[in-house]
């Protein structure tokens, strides 16, 4: 997918004035956050699971080569195939090659963020293969020609009336006066439209929440069952997964699944947890004739060896997005690539480079809520700060900011001189503000005063008053006790 994170500030400028987006983002505070809180409170040992899950991930990352090879061995033993892809080009070509091998004209797709990285839908389309998204949210944004604005709820930026209009435009064979005012009616309509298409698809492409080394299985979790239909009805099942989705054992997956659903949607379990362990065997009632797993690196190996390694623990649960006040203010599209919210601010620069993504790690107050709710306790603020430090080292940080910081630092490292200068400034500001005690406009502070007044200094400095109160005449000490 093309990166447009360079235009972050333009995106933000549009997003904050978008009343419809603001309305749509209400579901974060109205549902997603309280739901997670309830689910976590309902499992008293949740934090123990987190510790256990983190230990599993750290161990797995330390031995990822071994577990990936074990996974391949077991997939092959089950009758499947594994394809190793170093970058997005090789992943796209591999998938296209498989489609040609099996003479695929239409694919149904389960939700997969790594295929968004690859820009797979557009690529398949260019090569005459029709991709059809089956996750409700993905289906909606595919109809609209948009990209996901959220890693598990791709149409989070939309309200119900937007979706009704999209369906009205796309499903023009249906009665234009049909009722479309409830979530149920919209879901039912999408279901009827999609059902007809599953059977006609030649291949099903899904992602994977986990790959299990000991069994050679892949696991997806969905709430709509679309993944099951995608992967069992088509003759060919292609799983596309980034390499860090590997886990050693099925027991490990048990720990992660407990964490994932609670952190994501606040469910104890997702409605469907589907394991795929190779093609249909003799005697099986259903399943694909062939089973392929495309394992994508696309920058992960570099992360594994670098300072963003902890980001590879990410389960893609979206808790950090759901709880982020910045994400809630600007929505997911503003981030300009596949991943958004705090995890996107670390993952996107790590995968596509610092140059195009300057703003992402900077546009955070470091409030720390993301780290607090992350089931893997990924220190997202620290990782963003590391990326800021890399920007400074590589002089990617804007010149203006570097100059201002250098000036400030040279001043603040001389405390007495610093106070002389700030004293003059605050004295002048206090006099200028007068009895109003606020400024509605100030030069150099345009970004502050566009939305709030600037509070005038009280006048004088603390150290002036402290010196006055502790001078001999004011008998400091006893008098204060």
């Amino acid at each position: 997918m093309e990166v447009s994170s360079q235009k972050f500030n333009d995106h933000v400028h549009q997003a904050v004035d978008d009343a419809n987006l603001k309305g749509a983002m209400g579901k974060l505070t109205g549902a997603l956050r309280p739901n997670r809180a309830r689910a976590v409170a309902g499992l008293p040992e949740f934090d123990d699971y987190r510790d256990h899950g983190i230990a599993i991930k750290m161990h797995t990352l330390d031995h990822i080569d071994r577990y990936l090879e074990e996974f391949e061995t077991n997939v092959v033993a089950n009758g499947g195939h594994v394809h190793w892809c170093a970058d997005e080009d090789s992943a796209r070509e591999t998938i296209l090659g498989l489609c040609r091998q099996y003479d695929v004209k239409t694919v149904t797709k389960g939700k997969s963020m790594v295929t968004e990285e690859l820009g797979l839908n557009a690529f398949l389309d260019q090569h005459g293969i029709l991709p059809l998204e089956t996750d409700l949210g993905e289906y909606i944004i595919q109809l609209r020609g948009e990209s996901p604005s959220h890693i598990i709820a791709p149409a989070t930026h939309l309200q119900r009336h937007d979706i009704a209009q999209t369906f009205r435009d796309a499903h023009d064979h249906l009665d234009p006066n049909r009722p479309m005012d409830t979530a149920e009616s919209l879901t039912e309509e999408a279901r009827q439209e999609l059902r007809e298409k599953y059977g006609a698809a030649d291949a099903g492409i899904t992602g994977a929440n986990f790959m299990i080394a000991e069994t050679g299985s892949t696991i997806i979790v969905t709430n709509e069952g679309n993944g099951d239909l995608t992967q069992t009805l088509a003759k060919t099942h292609i799983v596309v997964a980034s390499m860090e989705k590997i886990l050693p054992t099925m027991d490990d997956a048990g720990v992660m699944l407990r964490l994932l659903a609670r952190s994501a949607t606040g469910q104890d379990m997702s409605v469907y947890t589907t394991l795929s362990s190779g093609p249909r065997r003799p005697g099986d009632l259903d399943g694909p004739d062939s089973f392929h797993v495309v394992i994508v690196d696309n920058g992960r190996s570099t992360m594994l060896a670098g300072s963003e390694r902890e980001m590879l623990r990410c389960l893609r649960c979206s808790a950090c997005l759901n709880h982020c006040p910045v994400y809630a203010s600007i929505g997911g599209h503003a981030y300009g690539w596949v991943y958004s919210g705090p995890m996107g601010k670390v993952l996107t620069p790590s995968l596509v480079g610092l140059e195009q993504t300057k703003d992402l790690p900077n546009a955070s107050t470091f409030c720390g809520k993301c780290q607090e709710v992350c089931p893997m306790r990924i220190p997202l603020p620290k990782l963003m700060r590391n990326l800021r430090a890399k920007q400074t080292e590589q002089k990617i940080t804007p010149l203006k900011q570097r100059v201002l910081l250098a000036l400030w630092s040279s001043l603040a490292s001389r405390p007495r001189f610093y106070r002389f200068v700030t004293g003059m400034m605050t004295g002048a500001l206090a006099r200028m503000a007068g009895p109003k005690r606020v400024f509605t406009w100030l030069p150099f502070l345009g970004d502050w005063v566009q939305s709030r007044d600037f509070v005038a200094p009280e006048g004088g400095s603390f150290f002036d008053r402290y010196r006055a109160s502790s001078s001999p005449s004011s008998s400091k000490g006893e008098a204060h006790d």
Binding site: V12, P325, A363, T365, F366, D453
Partner: protein, 272 residues
């Protein structure tokens, strides 16, 4: 105050880290912090070698600049039992980030001094309650008081109940914000680098504050206070805003922060 019980013992020696924002913007809050500590039986020194904790540079990813700002105060608290900070954010810098800032410093003494400061740094209200066991304060306040949790106080310094307990002991009816653990959008340089986002965040916070109809909004961090007071003022709200130390110390002679003042009708009429 139970100072009589403590009078037989040696007074704890506290170094007050004033913070650059309080020094420049709100000296009253610094004086109030000083009075609170003295009223709680501490001997307080205020080293002149401090300007800023260095956080703006640290969070901008400029380690060299952050070190340059921190070095002058590194040895200033050597003979203090505690370093107390009337800000969760700056306390977090001293208690959690200073060690990382100096962990690979060429001068070994700097690493040791950073470790020493980190080990004895506290946010003001947490120091009063958790370390000194303070249960009553000089200040008295009536009415509905909303306490805003700064993110660093809440998450880095584990400050939540302490200021609320002290406010209640002063007579306040403490009201909680609906989204109490959501950031106000200040974030230091973030507030001017990303004015659009910061403005949207502080508007949500201001609405959350207004919904509780408090007489007074207090917080332990000047950054949040300037941000929220500025937005309340722009919205034409009459809710007064103060640093929590001013209320607890009973040092309320300075007008509230910004023009959202209720201290006199004439000042109130200055509002837009």
């Amino acid at each position: 105050m139970s100072s009589s019980a403590r009078s037989s013992r040696k007074k704890p020696k506290v170094g007050l880290f004033v913070t650059c924002l309080i020094d420049a913007m709100r000296p009253s809050a610094g004086m109030a912090a000083l009075r609170l500590l003295e009223a709680a039986g501490c001997e307080v020194i205020v080293p002149e070698s401090q300007s800023c904790c260095g956080q703006p540079a640290w969070n901008s990813g400029d380690k060299a600049a952050a070190r340059a700002v921190a070095i002058p105060y590194l040895d200033s608290f050597d003979d203090c039992d505690y370093v107390v900070v009337p800000s969760g954010s700056c306390a977090g810098m001293l208690a959690h980030h200073l060690v990382e800032l100096f962990e690979d410093a060429p001068d070994l003494r700097h690493r040791q001094q950073a470790l020493a400061i980190a080990a004895k740094s506290h946010e003001l209200t947490s120091f009063l309650v958790d370390v000194l066991g303070v249960t009553s304060v000089p200040g008295q306040i009536k009415g509905r008081v909303a306490y805003h949790d700064s993110c660093s106080s809440l998450r880095e310094m584990k400050v939540k109940d302490q200021p609320r307990q002290l406010l209640k002991s002063a007579g306040a009816q403490v009201v909680d914000l609906d989204q109490a653990d959501t950031c106000c959008g200040f974030g230091g340089t973030f507030s001017v680098k990303y004015g659009d986002i910061s403005g949207a965040m502080v508007d949500s916070k201001a609405q959350d504050v207004e919904a509780q109809h408090p007489d007074l909004l207090v917080a332990g961090d000047m950054g949040c206070l300037m941000n929220i007071a500025g937005r309340l003022s722009r919205r034409g709200s009459l809710i007064a805003v103060r640093h929590v130390a001013e209320v607890l110390a009973g040092e309320m002679t300075a007008p509230p922060i910004g023009a959202g003042s209720t201290d006199s009708d004439t000042n109130g009429s200055d509002k837009k």
